[in-house]
Every structure is written in C-alpha cells, then in structure tokens.
C-alpha cells in the first residue's frame, strides 16, 4: 500500500430544506492512495457527487452544510481551512482538480479556451501571460488535441463534447494536480469517445502518478479502470474493496443487485434480467433500520428493527460490507 493522499473520515453533509434535513452524505469514510484509481459507484441521489463536492468544499451553503467529519489531504484537514479561505483556494484547482459531467456548463462560454487555460495557469503559477499561453498549448497537445494553437483561440461552443472534456482535463493537467476528481466524466459522451477520454485519463494517471477519483454509475467503466471501488446507497457506503473482489465476489445485496441489473454482452439473453425491485428511499424519511431492507431480496426477519448495520470486514483484507447477512458464499444466508 502506498501513501494515503486523501483520507475522508466520517464525512457528513446535510441539506437543510423545507422538507426537513436531508442527509445526502451520512458518515462515509474512504481513502485514496498515491497513483491510485478509486471509484465511487451508485445510482442517482445516493450522495456520490455531493461527497466529492464536499471534499472540494463546493457544496452550496445554504442549504447544504458539512456537519461533521475530517477531510485529510496530504496531512492537512481541509475542513479546518474553511471553504472561503485562501488556502482552500490554492488547493482547489492546483492540487485537487475536478472534472464535471457536462463540460459545456463548466467552461465559460464567452472566453476562448486559451484564455481560460492561461487564467488558471497564471492563478496558480508565477509565469508571464506569454509563458502561460505556451504552457496552455503544450497541455492541449498532451491531451491529444490536434492543432492545439488554433484550438486555443476557439470558444467552447465550437468544440465537440469529447474535445471539451479534453479541455477540462487539460486544465487539471496544467496545474499538475496530485488528485483529480471526476464526476461522471464520460456520461454525456458516446462510447467510442468515452473510451478515448478514459484512455487519456489513465495514461495521465500512469505518467504523472496522479490519483484519480471516478464518480460514476457505469459499472463497466469501473471494472475496466478502477483499482478500488466504494459502492454507495442512500448516503452511505454499503460495500468497499478492491475491484476484483467487488465485481467477481460481491457480498452486499445491493451490489449483487446492481451487477445483475446490467445487461451482459456475452451471456444468453433469453433470460430476463434480475432487477432490484422498488425504488431508492426518500432521503428525508429514512427508516430506522437498514435502508436497503425494503428492496432486499435476502432481507430476513432478523434484519427488521435492527439499527443500520456498521461496515464489517469479510473475506478479503480490504473487503467491507454494511450488511448483517453473509451472502455470496454459496447463497447461504447466515446471520
């Protein structure tokens, strides 16, 4: 195991709304090693994006507030810095880069690509305007954009979706961020472009020893690229471990259900899929027991009335699940 670059401990982010307190992120802990690719997987509304915005302290406040926990990045607790502080502004963008799902909304439509890139470079490095522009051209070349010099003078709307996402990657690359957080980086893109962008990100991770956090709902993407996976459900981590364990030996009923829901490219398709019945719970009215129990096909009488299960270790050294039962070991449910 390498050095821990980022360690999040018991992070809690709550939104205070008219409908009551919504615990979007409810006490999650995870870490990212240097040079590691970590994935946070879950369906919409499970808190995966909010958890990452919390790390960057970009959660809109009000209504959102980080109510507890620690975010230790390179030995420094970011929550102690405060969201508006100068230190945090230095970290955001320079040491932790973030790539969002929709590059069109995260790029300024009335500025050229070049001036946006140069602005970021000049914000974090002491260089002249001309030097910043040259660095910009180099980084665009590094993310395989043809005619980089011409593209510097283009506006975002003149570029395709894949190209825009490359610009976003170039911005994080220009600042040599040690950690890149990507929120559904390829969801808005076509599959062949998705493959290109992921190849590019993985190449950068390998070459620069950057760490990467991928927030996504695409289980295939995670299988292909991630080193470790955290599965989230209703604001909590329900299962975590190395990719091989999670994908080939899932132990939490939710993870098993998710994997069964994905249509396979090879398997005989005359069988029906095994979806998870029902819908995710309302975060404003969470039950006082396991949140997944109403949808759990294995849910036993014994689970009822018990408080939310804590994460506990199972087989592999780093395999944790939040479940009372022991599924996955030849279907036998023991408590």
């Amino acid at each position: 195991m390498g050095n821990k670059l980022l360690e999040v401990k018991n992070l809690k982010t709550t939104f205070f709304t008219v409908n009551g307190e919504i615990k979007a992120v409810d006490g999650i802990s995870y870490y990212v090693d240097e040079g590691e690719v970590v994935a946070l997987v879950g369906e919409s509304g499970c808190g995966k994006s909010v958890s990452q915005l919390s790390v960057m302290q970009l959660v809109q406040s009000p209504p959102g507030k980080i109510v507890g926990g620690e975010i230790v990045f390179q030995g420094q607790d970011l929550l102690q810095c405060g969201a508006q502080s100068k230190e945090m502004r230095e970290i955001r963008g320079a040491r932790i880069g973030m790539i969002f799902q929709e590059p069109m909304t995260s790029l300024d439509p009335v500025q050229t690509v070049g001036s946006q890139l140069a602005e970021v470079i000049r914000r974090h490095k002491k260089v002249s305007k001309k030097q910043a522009w040259e660095i910009g051209v180099k980084t665009l070349e590094a993310v395989s954009i043809p005619d980089a010099r011409v593209r510097m003078k283009n506006y975002p709307f003149e570029l395709s979706g894949g190209m825009r996402q490359r610009i976003m990657i170039a911005i994080t690359l220009a600042c040599q961020s040690q950690l890149i957080i990507t929120d559904e980086p390829t969801t808005a893109l076509d599959v062949t472009i998705q493959a290109q962008i992921m190849e590019l990100l993985m190449r950068l991770v390998r070459e620069n020893k950057t760490s990467l956090v991928v927030v996504t709902h695409n289980l295939g993407l995670v299988t292909r690229h991630a080193d470790r996976i955290y599965v989230m459900y209703a604001g909590k981590i329900v299962e975590s471990g190395v990719t091989e364990d999670i994908i080939t030996k899932p132990r939490h009923p939710y993870t098993i259900g998710l994997l069964n829901s994905v249509p396979k490219l090879r398997r005989d398709c005359s069988e029906d899929l095994n979806p998870i019945e029902g819908a995710p719970p309302d975060l404003a009215n969470l039950p006082n027991e396991c949140y997944f129990l109403p949808r759990c096909p294995y849910g036993k009488q014994a689970c009822k009335g018990k408080k939310y299960p804590d994460l506990r270790q199972v087989d592999g050294q780093e395999h944790f699940i939040a479940c009372f039962m022991d599924i996955g070991n030849d279907e036998g449910c023991t408590i």
Binding site: S44, V191, G220, T223, R224, C269
Partner: protein
C-alpha cells in the same frame, strides 16, 4: 423466425434536412441525416438500431412514424407504402404505430394528471365511449405496466423516473399498437430501474405480440432485447446481424470498435481484452466524407474505401455488411 412475414420494410430511406441561408433562405446544402437505409422488421421481433449520437438512428425511427416526411425511399407497412400517403390517410395507420420517448420528463404534459394523459390516448382508439369503459381500460393499462391504481390521480412530477417511463409505455399501448418505436427508452434511467423496464418490454412483447424498433446507443441493452440489430454510422446502415452473432461474428470494423469500447462487468475478460480505441470523431453529416463514411477512422481503409461507398451485402445467415475488408478472422 424466418417464416414470419415482414411487418415493416424500409427501402432506400433518405432524410435530408435542408440548410438555408440568406435573405431568400436559399438551400445551400443538406444534412444527410439518413442516407439510403434499408431493413425489414418481422412480426413479433425486436429490431435494434444502435449507433453514436448523430448517426441518424432517431431520425430513422421518426421517419417510420412520419414525424419527418422522408426525402426519398419506401416504408412498407403491412404490404402498403405509407411514406407517401397523405396525412389524413396515414392517420388510420398511426394508431397501430406508436412511439415511446427517451425522456419521460419531457414527453408527459406536466399539467395533466395521469388519468387525463391516459384518457386522451384511450379516446383516440375510438373503441371505448362511456366513462365506465374508459375507466376500465385505464385500470387495465395501469396493471399491464405494473403501476398502482392510485397513481391515476397524480401528476407526472410526483412520479419517479421509472414510473414515468411506465406511464409512457401505458400511453403507447392504449390504442393496441402493432409496432412501437422505442427511442432510447431506458437511457435516462438508473441501472436497477433500467433492468425493470427492459423486463417489462419483454413481457409485454410476449403477452401482446408487439413488434419493437428499439433505438439506443447502449450495445448491451440492445443486444439483450433485440433479435436483430442494425448498426448505423453517419446516416448509413453499416451492418445488420442477429444479436446472437454480435459478439463473436460481427464483421464491420466499426461494429468491432464499438463492441470493444463498451466496458463490461466481466472482470477477468475485461483485463485481457484487446481494445480498439478509435481515433478522431464522427465527421459532420453536412460534409460526409466520400466513399465509406467510416474510412477516416478505419484502420483497414484502402483506396477503394475512400472513393466508393460499399454496398450492404448479404454474407449469408441473415448477416449484411457494408465493407470491403470484413474478413471474419480479423480482430
């Protein structure tokens, strides 16, 4: 499946959208959204159309329903060319041809309650007249798509994504259609909900003998639901094959590249799999390259590909490929 007669035949379908400019809005060029597409759909089968954005898959679906009037080509439904029928005549067929949209948020009127959305569609069928009959039919439809009866009084914004898509399906079923064009019906849904809706589609097909044209970009989803698959690229059909053949026997370089680009959850295979990462992006359909539309990104491209468009030819076993270099052993 071969004995069944084709319910729908599309022959040489072309849909060109004119681009206009200037004071007199002269047409100066065309976007060739769909260019010479032919395929047939047999009764009771599901025909999947896959491709990336801008490849013309949605436009093809819309042409079949005459939402766009095709520039050229024939659409033969039940032995009758419906592409040139006047709108009034076409309406008679329209009840049998229905559409399910991608976005269940935008395809439902936010100011209509569930029951009035369904009522409108049921009245169109002209089989149900009294209030009692309509109510009975509504209950039937709701239970068909596994929605609770209480939902009838709610509004679309009170429903979850999955429930909304079920409602879209119920609305399409109201007129007892024969053919449903499903345009990316599960793309906007979460994986677990997506699987529920896919199962629903399959069950309805069995129970009601429906024929689907299933348009989507997700190969795994299409392979799961469709019997035959057409792969489109830049307005053209480049390969048509049985879905069982998709993984092992696809022959067009684009289909292979698509397959290799889709990440799967098969961990051990995924680690070993050779990946074909395509260079570049899809060219604009305004200035489509001459010859094979795929040649600028194809690694097998030769001179003939750059000048002449390969025809979609039958290579046996219902497998049609439009490529000069499609040796099955190349991979």
């Amino acid at each position: 499946m071969n004995e069944k007669k084709p319910l729908l035949q599309v022959e040489g379908l072309k849909m060109y959208f004119p681009l206009k400019k200037g004071l007199l809005s002269r047409t100066y060029c065309h976007v060739k959204a769909v260019d010479d597409v032919s395929f047939e759909v047999r009764e009771g089968e599901t025909f999947g159309i896959v491709g990336e954005s801008g490849c013309g898959k949605t436009t093809t679906g819309k042409c079949i329903l005459r939402i766009h009037d095709p520039t050229d080509g024939k659409i033969i439904y039940n032995g009758r060319d419906i592409s040139k029928l006047p709108k009034s005549k076409f309406k008679e067929n329209r009840r049998e041809l229905q559409l399910i949209f991608q976005d269940p948020y935008e395809s439902l009127d936010p100011r209509q309650s569930v029951c009035s959305i369904l009522e409108e569609a049921i009245v169109c069928d002209r089989k149900f007249h009294t209030k009692e009959e309509i109510k009975k039919r509504m209950r039937e439809l709701l239970s068909l798509v596994e929605l609770h009866q209480d939902i009838a009084l709610r509004y679309p914004h009170e429903l979850s994504g999955g429930q909304r898509q079920r409602l879209g399906v119920a609305r399409a079923l109201a007129c007892n259609p024969k053919l449903i064009v499903c345009d990316e019906p599960v793309s906007a849904l979460d994986v677990s909900i997506q699987a529920q809706i896919i199962n629903l589609f399959r069950r309805l097909q069995e129970e009601l003998g429906l024929t689907y044209i299933f348009v989507a970009h997700d190969l795994a989803v299409v392979r799961h639901i469709a019997g035959r698959i057409g792969v489109m690229y830049l307005g053209r059909m480049v390969e048509i094959l049985d879905s069982d053949d998709l993984f092992e026997n696809s022959r067009h370089p684009y289909t292979k590249a698509l397959l290799s680009a889709v990440p799967t959850t098969d961990y051990y295979r995924e680690k070993r799999r050779e990946r074909i990462v395509l260079e570049g992006e899809v060219p604009s359909p305004i200035n489509a390259p001459p010859g094979c539309p795929f040649h600028p990104r194809c690694r097998y491209a030769t001179d003939i590909c750059r000048t002449t468009m390969p025809e979609l030819l039958d290579r046996g076993r219902n497998h049609l490929v439009a490529c000069y270099h499609d040796g099955p052993c190349e991979s």
